[in-house]
């Protein structure tokens, strides 16, 4: 009931792990696969090692958390060892980041044999200048990076976008033009900040961090809705999902797959099993025959 096919790949259900959450080691990624996810996205990695920001790197806010891990990465050479060990029973998505088309295409060519999909992180809201959302806020650069990556590898390429732009559809269309096989949205929101009132210190060492968790769901849903209307390629929804109802909302809004991140903090890796069970029951009690039937359903209602 839960199987679906996106970009020519079979997913045994529509639930994937989102990038950056328990995603730094093959061992934790395999735990997530064993917990019921149909696929996993790795923590984003770069060519060179990067320790990320000093702590504090996360702080809770109403309805979620803000984080500025700072794209820590062991560098592609070290990370290959992890990629090799991710269980191929799930769909293995490598999230990569860089500052130029050359960096992205180099990374893609280095790892394409080890994984099933490449996700481009052009959307991290707390990346160093020149990385992350400073790319995904520029349609021309986004298109170039997607194009360069596509030319350097044969696996499907998903482009992950930031909601922190005036028009997300504009960026999605640019990614589609560049040849992206799907659009993932959204990366964390904002950035936002929190200040300690006793001392006046911003709590995150980076001051600002991306917001994630249930509070960002309405924004993520609207981004999925808009981009579904703007491009032909599949949309992958992420942001604040914590139960099967959220998944249904995302599918209705136009997502073909969803990713789950922050909710693992509250529910652990077991969340994948729980949602799969509930989602299966929901579909069995509905008029839908497949996940695919549900994708974009709400667009037909208006």
């Amino acid at each position: 009931m839960l199987e679906t096919n996106v970009c020519g790949l079979n997913f045994k259900n529509p639930l994937l792990l989102a990038a950056g959450v328990m995603g730094s080691h093959a061992s934790s990624l395999n735990w997530i696969l064993n917990s019921g996810a149909s696929g996993v996205v790795t923590k984003s990695f770069s060519i060179e090692p990067n320790p990320g920001y000093h702590n504090p790197t996360t702080v809770p806010v109403e309805g979620g958390i803000i984080n500025a891990i700072g794209l820590s990465s062991p560098g592609v050479e070290n990370f290959k060892e992890e990629l090799e060990q991710i269980d191929s029973k799930g769909v293995r998505v490598a999230s990569i980041y860089g500052a130029s088309p050359e960096e992205f295409s180099y990374l893609a060519s280095e790892i394409e044999d080890l994984i099933d999909v490449i996700e481009l992180n052009v959307s991290c809201p707390h990346a160093m200048c020149g990385y992350g959302s400073s790319i995904g806020q520029d349609p021309t650069l986004t298109e170039k990076i997607v194009k360069a990556t596509k030319e350097s590898c044969k696996v499907p390429v998903w482009t992950k976008l930031t909601p922190n732009v005036t028009s997300i559809s504009e960026i999605a269309i640019a990614a589609e033009k560049g040849g992206s096989d799907a659009i993932t949205l959204i990366n964390s929101l904002g950035p936002g900040m929190k200040i300690d009132i006793k001392t006046g210190n911003p709590i995150l060492s980076n001051k600002f961090g991306g917001m994630s968790g249930p509070a960002i769901k309405p924004i993520a849903l609207r981004c999925v809705w808009d981009v579904y209307d703007s491009v032909e390629i599949p949309v992958i929804g992420v942001g604040g999902i914590s139960n099967y109802k959220d998944v249904v909302e995302f599918l209705y809004a136009g997502a073909s797959l969803v990713q789950i991140g922050t909710s693992i903090m509250d529910y652990g890796p077991e969340i994948f099993k729980t949602i799969n069970t509930d989602l299966n029951e929901f579909i069995e009690n509905s008029d839908f025959n497949s996940i695919n039937d549900m994708v974009g359903y709400a667009h037909k209602k208006i």
């Binding site: 061992s27 990320g52 000093h54 504090p56 809770p60 060492s205």
Partner: protein, 269 residues
């Protein structure tokens, strides 16, 4: 999950030339209530690092941790005075099982790894267990908590690398020695991993069930960033640990071999 709460340092105890204990007022209620083996994240407004809870006073509503000065963060903490502020969040992690009624338990702490063993011993004794503690250090002046533990009714065995106090040699040798004369139903171990590994091997040989309080580099401490996950199970030391049973530890293949730097690069011991 809570934000760091900025608290004034209520009291500083100079334990050894390199180790100090920092004590804070702490409402012992709800999610605040700590358990032996849990840790706090301590924010000095520049960085934030994990520290085992070494002091729990339920009557006076106090909490504390014990810090060895070994680098930029811990050196900075050592410069602080009573009345200065630190940000604290927690408690985090699972903590020790202390349910040892009528059992004989051996706790082994190396250096500042002694941190959790006052609360641990207290809880075991309250539950009707008997506790022996090996307090190990490089030299006499660095031994931690000997008197405090004796006051609780614990049999304390000291052990120094240089023989300035008690047994001369490593903690493993001390454990080996004690096993010859004593029967233990269970053990609890905390200290540098290079110390814990041979003790683990020894206790395994002797079929003694045990709990190991291990350390990994921590960022979020709330089980989300994945930094502290261990091979091959992927368990999060901050959430699924930091205490693991001997059965679990057998599956943690990286134990005693390597841990990961903030970047994720493996650092072999």
């Amino acid at each position: 999950m809570k934000s760091p709460e900025v608290l004034e340092i209520k009291e500083i105890i100079e334990e050894t030339p390199t180790i100090k204990t920092f004590i804070f007022d702490w409402e012992m209620e709800g999610e605040n209530i700590p358990y032996p083996g849990q840790f706090l994240m301590v924010w000095n407004f520049k960085d934030e690092k994990p520290m085992s809870i070494s002091h729990m006073n339920f009557k006076n509503n106090e909490i504390g941790f014990t810090v060895k000065a070994i680098g930029p963060f811990t050196n900075n903490i050592h410069t602080l005075k009573e009345g200065d502020n630190l940000g604290i969040r927690g408690p985090f992690g699972n903590g020790f099982n202390c349910d040892f009624k009528d059992k004989h338990v051996l706790a082994v702490g190396g250096g500042v790894g002694m941190g959790p063993f006052i609360p641990f011993s207290e809880e075991c004794i309250n539950n009707g267990g008997e506790v022996d503690v090996i307090s190990a250090a490089t030299t006499k002046d660095e031994l931690l908590f000997v008197e405090e533990l004796e006051d609780l009714g614990v049999n304390v065995y000291t052990c120094t690398d240089d023989g300035t106090c008690g047994f001369k040699g490593f903690a493993t040798d001390r454990v080996n020695d004690l096993l010859k004369t004593n029967h233990y139903d269970s053990a609890a171990v905390c200290g540098p991993e290079v110390m814990m590994k041979p003790i683990f091997d020894l206790l395994e040989e002797n079929n003694i069930p045990a709990q190991y309080d291990i350390g990994r580099y921590m960022k979020c401490a709330i089980g989300i960033c994945g930094q502290c996950c261990v091979d091959n199970t992927g368990w999060r030391v901050c959430k699924d640990g930091p205490v693991f049973s001997e059965k679990q530890l057998r599956q943690i293949t990286e134990f005693g071999k390597y841990q990961r730097e903030p970047s994720g690069i493996k650092q072999y011991y």
